[in-house]
Symmetry: C2
Subunit: 488 residues, 2 copies
């Protein structure tokens, strides 16, 4: 899941400055980059398409279907009676999830399972109306319920078409929004899915569902940097504040920012918050992907990237604008340009340009997936940006001509009233900014929470490595045994 | 629920005769008649409307709402903290269910509950597009999932608008299709509904879900008549066969049928199956409403109407066509004209004419609610009419331009895989033709089956009377105690 944080930051800041122009920065969807690369332990899948209904919930266009993409590997499948491990695709190209969910293949090997990854409608190549999918007329079928119906209908049909699979139990997996879908699929279709591993699934990060005074997304992100040394978040916060000071100086300040951040083109006065978003996103995404090994999920990054990022702040105590901006540039560069392949300057315009996948997720975030994220600049290292729901509604109405339905989400996905559910594992990492929105305590004997002390965003789903912290090794063992109990 | 039996009978017979004209007889929906009458123990409700979304599952028309009718009585409500008893309206005017579900008021009195009845979209006055609701363009939003979302959204909003109800648990009730909805509402929205009393809910009477060789709807109906004396179903079967013989004689036979059945207008050769449907429906509905006391649900009828109907066959052994038809006319007249108010002749054209409510249910039966009913003329007393799915599909395509989605129903409503559910009572009467499609054994400690030895279609939901058989008294006691456990 991409952080909604900066959307809100930009919105609120622009509002407070009385600017009429608003830009909502989001980064490119993971789907568009490096989707074909995977570690060598993951088998090459076969790719197929399934004709799924565009609208499962009415008969207004009863025969209208689209081609939903899915990936299959039988590399570990032991035949009749063995299970199906099903990944509920989230907001991106399905290959990006296929390539970053190695633990499913470890499990498939353990249990002799067939592995199936299904792509979420309106992402990747699963576009219900082709290149017209994002028009106002056509995007309305992009809802989580429709996507879940896609998955339930598809896997049921898949089993029906292959008699040897008729008795195979289906375990559903997912991380982030995919984890939310996984848990909801078990709640909604327990007849289809025997159980769900919902990794880093912030199913309570919804408007009206976050506990008042509870830990915030931005606080967890800040704490991750704090763990590398208190000078790190203190310096980053000072850097953000200095940006605003320089921006207030007019052209000389803008010139300084352009120079110090090595921007590819001169910063304009209406781009200050693009720069802020660019930097904040870099830090937030490092916190989300603060993995113990080098990874290539959102960007190519070293092991423990937050530690690497913080080295530019520790023991240095930068104070001048130049020192602060240099440290920021270098520390955020761990995210944007660790390999050096991104070039010698930062193109904030490129990175904040939206792509189709972003547009789809922004639409979901404006209809059903209303997930407040806010900052205060005190208990976190970002510029203050309180969540103001009415502003968000205005943004959604202006952008998509829709009004969010937060109440419906509470009803349709059960909100906090999930005690009637069964066979769900909610795993969350202590380092993951999304953890405060997740289920971090046991709901019942069969709806259990696993906390991973040294885990960032769905670390447990990644390919197990010898260098993994003990906490994630233990989590995976626990998950394995619970899944075993479902399959017995 | 109205029997689909005769639709199929007519279809198959016409097919076998090679006739191109097909008529699908259904009777007037209960909604159109006597809906204001109720027994004096039932309080007069207040009537309201709620603006519900036409389409909960897409954002294609995100602001389109309609006025859903609901009824409320606080006659028994004891205030803050006391529960809400919610009736999930089925296929008809909501008053017809309000007036025939007296047990809910008994329970409301016991538990201090607020009573709310919600009307199903496309029935009664809850027409999403007014008098244009049944056009091909507009009827597509008539699905059970949309209706269930209506109920969940409505009652959640209702509670939110009245702070004193915020902690009130909601128990959902329903009979027949309403009982199916009640059980599905608990499965789908356990966050909203604490438990469900699903009376005579044939949730397994679906295409592909009926056990092969299991008891049939038509067999239970026949058995009801058999219990009054073996001559009764034997005579009725002989009567049906004689109708076909006379119809084969041409005009003299038609004249005899017109005369003997006291039809209001001369029977035409293409109306023979209308007559058959008329008679079969009469017998089937008597079986469904074979209640121990005089009732006025589908029609005004005496206590134990099947016994009354059978008196015209017992000890008489009619054999001539005239004797057979006279006995049929009198015995089926217990259903159609027990009070004599229906006049001195039978108008089969009036009774087989469809009304709006029928059209809506026929549409549901052609989209999601595909519930096979068949007859064989051997183990039942009707003319043989096997269920031929492909013929049914053709009928639906020709009538509504839709193709049934039986697979979707299996997925969306869980089929036989309901072990993950909780807090549902499935009650079924041994006399009820719908019982073979119901859940008649315990699924788990909290999904329990109650069998009512002397019960017809959802007898337990009717107002308790001193004359009630012990079996239904016991069922109601059991239901009361289970509901009490949900509310503790």
């Amino acid at each position: 899941m991409k952080a909604c944080l900066l959307v809100v930051v930009a919105l609120v800041l622009f509002s407070s400055l009385g600017e009429s122009k608003r830009r909502f920065s989001r980064f490119k969807d993971v789907s568009t980059r490096r989707v074909k690369s995977r570690d060598q332990t993951i088998p090459t899948p076969d790719e197929f398409f399934f004709a799924n209904l565009v609208d499962h919930y009415s008969f207004v266009h009863p025969t209208q279907t689209y081609q939903m993409r899915y990936l299959v590997t039988d590399a570990y499948y032991l035949g009749k009676g063995y299970p199906i491990f099903f990944y509920a695709g989230n907001e991106g190209d399905i290959y990006s999830f296929y390539n970053n969910t190695g633990f499913m293949f470890t499990l498939a090997s353990e249990f002799g399972a067939l592995v199936v990854f299904a792509e979420h409608r309106y992402y990747g190549e699963s576009l219900p109306f082709g290149n017209q999918s994002y028009t106002k007329e056509n995007i309305g079928y992009l809802t989580s319920e429709q996507a879940m119906a896609d998955y339930a209908v598809f896997i049921s049909d898949y089993k029906a078409q292959k008699p040897e699979l008729s008795e195979s139990k289906v375990v559903v997996f997912g991380g982030s929004y995919g984890g939310m879908l996984a848990s909801w699929l078990r709640m909604r279709y327990p007849n289809v899915f025997v159980g769900a591993l919902a990794a880093s699934a912030p199913i309570w990060q919804f408007e009206g569902q976050m506990p008042r005074g509870g830990e915030q997304f931005s606080e967890v992100a800040t704490r991750d940097f704090l763990l590398s040394g208190p000078e790190c978040p203190t310096g980053i916060r000072a850097g953000f504040e200095e940006i605003m000071i320089q921006a207030g100086r007019g052209q000389p300040g803008l010139d300084l920012l352009t120079e110090q951040f090595m921007l590819c083109s001169p910063l304009q006065s209406d781009q200050v918050y693009d720069l802020v978003s660019f930097l904040e996103n870099g830090y937030v995404y490092m916190a989300m992907t603060d993995y113990p090994s080098a990874s290539n999920f959102l960007q190519p990054m070293p092991a423990w990237p937050v530690d690497v990022s913080c080295q530019y702040w520790l023991h240095k105590k930068p104070t001048s604008p130049e020192e602060l901006f240099t440290a920021m540039r270098l520390s955020v560069g761990v995210y944007y340009n660790y390999t050096g392949e991104a070039g010698s300057c930062f193109d904030i315009n490129e990175d904040i340009s939206s792509n189709l996948g972003d547009q789809a997720w922004n639409y979901q975030a404006c209809t059903e997936m209303i997930m407040p994220v806010q900052t205060n600049g005190k208990t976190d290292m970002f510029l203050p940006a309180p969540w103001i729901y009415s502003d968000y509604v205005t943004y959604c109405q202006e952008t998509f001509d829709v009004t969010p339905r937060p109440g419906w989400t509470d009803i349709s996905f059960w909100g906090h009233q999930i005690s009637a559910a069964s066979n769900i594992i909610f795993s969350n990492g202590m380092l993951d900014p999304w953890r405060p929105g997740g289920v971090t305590y046991n709901i019942s004997s069969s709806v259990t929470a696993i906390i991973i002390q040294h885990g960032a965003h769905h670390l447990d789903l990644r390919t197990p490595l010898p260098s993994d912290p003990l906490s994630v090794q233990m989590a995976r063992s626990q998950e394995t045994e619970i899944i075993r109990s479902w399959l017995e």
